[in-house]
Symmetry: C2
Subunit: 343 residues, 2 copies
């Protein structure tokens, strides 16, 4: 254990300490090429003794190879994204690649900044949420010279590859399930997020499918900020006060749905007889509520894993450079809040 060095250690120091050339030290430390076991040990000992940590900046510059993968998501607080990240992390587990996360707060301006910043590190790949980006961002992605995977959403054209689900279709499917069960007076609650394109697409798919059946949403409400559970509770109460005839409530996420569910249970409302409910996401957290909310799985960790795999494949030695589109199909889980006539 020596004192903290004023100047960080370099290969040269290890070379000097071990009496082996810098080049061979480099080989040992990277497990590249053949090195005799004797010198190997000398080098390893010296490196450990000194506490040498290689400088990847220099290494990356020299080798033109960076083991970083840029992952750009809107937020950490949406639960969905940490799960995607876990999927990505797991997929990179036994590979040299390492995710680096950037946050956009759902703002195109920030997305541009973050993307620029990340690309300036010349990552081995980019995983970015959504298909909607500013022209500048799309241009950067197209010119990045590294594989790009757009995730979560598949309703649109990707710059390169994409992995996700069709949120439009997810909304449609839920609408169809609701119609099939005979619900007719429908309310919708969601987040007030003009920039959450996926929520918007679900909503559009939902309303369109209803329209085809001649049904129109009778009430809608949007919130922003605060505890989702509490908001779901409030909004549900107010909505039913405004329009007591509603027989189905569709929530844009499971948390507000759960708030609504808890409220209605307290009110002694018959669910799903009198009022049916459904959310979106398949949040594991909610298992353990008195009743299970109907929902639709968003395939979060699968998406992360598949996206990471594409990056891995594209960085493999035999890589083809082919882009790829993976469309996952979410399934409805009916839980206890959506009637089921048959089966």
């Amino acid at each position: 254990m020596s004192d903290r060095p004023a100047r960080p250690l370099t290969l040269r120091d290890v070379s000097a300490a071990s009496g082996v050339s810098e080049m061979t030290v480099s080989r040992v430390l990277r497990n590249r090429g053949d090195v005799s076991e004797a010198t190997r040990q000398k080098v390893l000992d010296a490196a450990k003794e000194l506490g040498y940590v290689p400088n990847k900046i220099a290494g990356a510059l020299a080798s033109q190879r960076v083991n970083l993968v840029a992952v750009i998501i809107p937020s950490f607080s949406n639960m969905v994204f940490p799960e995607v990240l876990s999927g990505i992390n797991a997929a990179f587990e036994n590979s040299p690649l390492q995710p680096v996360v950037g946050i956009t707060d759902y703002q195109p301006g920030k997305e541009e900044e973050v993307l620029y910043e990340m690309l300036s590190w010349r990552p081995s790949g980019v995983i970015i949420a959504g298909l909607e980006h500013s022209d500048a961002a799309r241009a950067m992605l197209a010119a990045a010279g590294t594989p790009v995977v757009e995730i979560m959403d598949t309703d649109g054209r990707p710059v390169d590859s994409m992995v996700g689900i069709s949120h439009r279709r997810a909304g449609e499917e839920m609408a169809k399930a609701i119609i099939k069960e005979g619900y007719e007076h429908i309310g919708f609650m969601g987040t007030k997020m003009p920039l959450d394109h996926r929520a918007r697409k679900r909503f559009e798919g939902f309303t369109e499918a209803l329209a085809k059946a001649g049904i129109e949403i009778e009430e809608r409400d949007f919130y922003s900020g605060g505890s989702a559970l509490a908001k779901g509770r409030e909004m549900t109460q107010h909505m039913l006060e405004r329009n007591p005839d509603l027989d189905f409530l569709y929530y844009s996420n499971d948390l507000i749905g759960a708030g609504g569910l808890l409220y209605l249970i307290e009110q002694g409302v018959d669910i799903p007889g009198e009022v049916g409910l459904a959310g979106f996401n398949g949040v594991e957290l909610l298992q353990g509520l008195p009743r299970q909310l109907a929902t639709m799985d968003a395939c979060r960790s699968e998406i992360g894993a598949a996206a990471a795999q594409i990056i891995l494949d594209r960085n493999a030695d035999n890589a083809t450079g082919e882009n790829k589109s993976v469309v996952l199909t979410p399934t409805i889980s009916f839980g206890d809040t959506l009637r089921r006539h048959r089966r």
Copy 2:
């Protein structure tokens, strides 16, 4: 819009396109030094036209300066950590610094790997969860030559700086509050995590404070995996079946506490008369439950913000290099599940 370049663009390309020397182009792009408005515009135009993105790898190597801050946390799925990250992110918002996150899965071995990997990028700072690290990890931190802030926990000696709360004290405070209200038959439920030192310290502080009052925990149970809400529900049911005399249940986190709460409400148990409950964390998510669980705020985003601020200060021009310890004091919120005799 040109075709995708085979070779990434360099300063040289911008220099050629603008007819300005590489050096001056560099100055313009970094806003350093005085450059005439005329050349400035020429350079900016050329850069934008080409879609040039600077290569920070080369920049970092040349300037010996990296604007990255390593943030090392156990997991994304604990909710707590995303919140800390948000705090860090916010604090770095208007600074050149950028967090890069690494995940340890609560495993010392992975912590070492991740730390090594991150240090090899020569970050401008390290923010790392907890005070317990392997000897190798501590050695790396000590020799990193960059500010290190250990966060979340303050029960122990930091390598450099620390920001957090005393979990031991948090456990004690909760025990005192419980004792004061006259509860005597106490059960504990938590996660089965030998490596979650903070949960362990809370538990220790809790049991010690009880012991001083001559009280011993009568039942305890630990879970791992699955939905916390559901586990809390199950564990609570079983614990009360085993020992119906319990009059207080202390949970190591709010989610299992909420599961217990929902279960007891369903059972028609009088809370907090018959049984009192408390969790830990102050999870905003839970607002909106039928009743508010007593809990203790873990100061998550404050911790992130304060840690980031320390890194910022240490990287400032007039930095003193002084280390710093910030001990935040969490407050109990009694909610509806812990009796309050006075006030």
